[in-house]
């Protein structure tokens, strides 16, 4: 009989707080509530931020998505095979956001309705324009799901391209093309003549 892979000793030699993320996920797969609580504590802020950026100001929905993400993670912990737990959680959250979007009413505003705005010259060195900044969350929320997920991971969560691509289950080149189009759409929506 051949054995491969890793065994993770959970207790008592190693305190559960000392476990790596991957070890915690392994412990979660056994139904360990302490491990689940700890995994939640470690990553809830990032998952919440991601869900909030993806869902805008809809706080109830955001928290529902965060809850659903962790419940799905606990239920699917035995299947985790990746390297970065946070990328895995982002992937779950992104899928849930997409599924949720399918069930909600059509977006209140089409992209075209917000395109009629003052023209702004864009360049990287300019300070953040408060008026533009105020409209940015709504513009992000109007992005198609795939572009929005890529943009949020790269430009808001500052994930590396490789990690964001892993989270979304796409090649890195595809990810960057989505990021490009997301930024370009945002520029167009917020107003730009560059």
């Amino acid at each position: 009989m051949e054995k491969r892979g890793q065994l993770v000793q959970l207790r008592p030699e190693a305190r559960i707080e000392d476990l790596s993320d991957a070890g915690l996920v392994a412990a979660c797969a056994t139904g360990d509530r302490t491990a689940r609580g700890l995994l939640f504590e470690r990553h809830v802020d990032a998952v919440h931020r991601f869900a909030a950026r993806m869902r805008g100001s809809d706080a109830d929905t955001v928290e529902d998505l965060v809850q659903a993400t962790f419940v799905a993670a606990f239920q699917g912990a035995a299947k985790f095979r990746g390297e970065r737990v946070i990328a895995w959680l982002y992937g779950i959250a992104a899928n849930l956001v997409r599924a949720h979007a399918r069930h909600e009413i059509r977006r209140k505003r089409a992209l075209s309705s917000v395109a009629d705005v003052a023209q702004v010259t864009w360049h990287a060195a300019m300070p953040a324009n408060p008026a533009l900044l105020a409209r940015l969350p709504e513009a992000i929320a109007e992005l198609p799901h795939d572009l929005r997920a890529a943009f949020v991971l790269i430009d808001l969560e500052n994930e590396r391209g490789r990690d964001a691509a892993e989270a979304l289950g796409i090649p890195e080149g595809t990810l960057w093309r989505r990021v490009f189009h997301a930024r370009k759409t945002l520029r167009d929506v917020l107003g730009g003549d560059a």
């Binding site: 000793q9 008592p12 509530r33 302490t34 504590e41 931020r49 909030a52 419940v71 430009d155 093309r177």
Partner: protein, 313 residues
């Protein structure tokens, strides 16, 4: 001179890469500048933060949702998929039986060797495998039981009496009695049963995982689980939780204070403190949070409790 692909420009903006081509190509330079501008603007967005209270409530909701039984339709789906998988497995095994017999390597089982020390991560990558047989736990006490020891599991079915178990240097042991199951792994504990039902578990070292009523609990060293106490404590905790959600903070505190079993004590002490804070009893809430931090220093909620103490000063 060919221009950069769009993904290269996006990546250059996203990961602050310097591309020689950009210095020579105004078009690509402009695209890159636009991409960086949006990234800069995004970076100026105010942070999204989850308040400590909402975080704690969300944690409780997540844990409750994770503990909830899978809906029946999921059961049916899982059963159907399991059946299909089993059939497929049998077909594949029958088909490959002849070949497999020639390919399976033999297994060496080493007997009468000391228990191996397991700590941290153990990577098992180099065949051929040697399975080391660990000694089984020695049971002490006066109890009516049956024991089923296989290479995979060591299970004691306890009908009555008390046993003390030490698995600190041995294989883990499962104790089953009625609907309650206990896993003693690298731990010392005493278990008492009556009429085929586990009445009490006392943990002296390590921690014991106990599954009762479909829920898994970790009983840490120094704690005692008592069936009657646990049952009533869970009821009390539910009462407290319902009262807290309804805004009846006094009733919530009273109910949480009655939930003293280790199964729910950590949750109950914390939420009693939350209820006190919501009731406007700042000093009492601070005292309760401090008590929580003292008793459950390694709790996932310890940081939230410390924050609350700071907030209440």
């Amino acid at each position: 001179m060919s221009c950069l692909a769009l993904d290269q420009i996006a990546a250059a903006a996203g990961e602050d890469l310097d591309l020689d081509h950009v210095a020579e190509c105004p078009r690509c330079a402009a695209l890159l500048d636009e991409q960086r501008a949006i990234r800069t603007l995004a970076g100026a967005l105010p942070p999204v933060r989850l308040s400590a209270d909402r975080r704690a409530e969300l944690a409780a909701e997540v844990m409750a949702a994770a503990d909830a039984p899978v809906p029946r339709r999921h059961h049916r789906f899982v059963i159907a998929m399991g059946g299909a998988l089993a059939i497929a497995t049998v077909v594949i095994m029958v088909a490959m039986r002849g070949r497999a017999n020639d390919e399976i390597p033999s297994v060496q089982v080493a007997q009468d060797v000391p228990a191996i020390e397991l700590s941290g991560r153990i990577a098992m990558v180099e065949p051929p495998p040697t399975i080391v047989a660990e000694p089984i736990a020695v049971l002490r006490g006066d109890a009516e039981l049956t024991r089923d020891t296989t290479p995979e599991r060591d299970v004691v079915t306890l009908r009555g009496g008390s046993i003390s178990i030490d698995t600190s240097q041995t294989r883990s042991l499962e104790v089953v009695a009625g609907p309650t199951r206990i896993i003693v792994a690298r731990a010392r504990a005493a278990v008492t049963a009556r009429g085929g039902v586990i009445e009490q578990v006392v943990v002296f070292a390590g921690s014991v995982e106990l599954t009762a009523d479909g829920h898994r609990h970790v009983i840490e060293a120094g704690a005692t689980w008592d069936r009657l106490l646990a049952t009533s404590a869970i009821d009390e905790f539910r009462t407290g939780w319902t009262a807290l959600r309804a805004g009846d903070h006094a009733a919530a505190i009273a109910a949480f204070d009655r939930a003293v079993s280790p199964v729910v004590a950590e949750d109950a002490v914390y939420w009693a403190a939350v209820a006190a804070e919501r009731a406007g009893q700042r000093a009492e809430a601070a005292r309760r949070f401090a008590d929580f931090v003292t008793r459950f220093a390694t709790s996932p909620r310890a940081d939230a409790a410390r924050s609350a103490i700071e907030r209440l000063r």
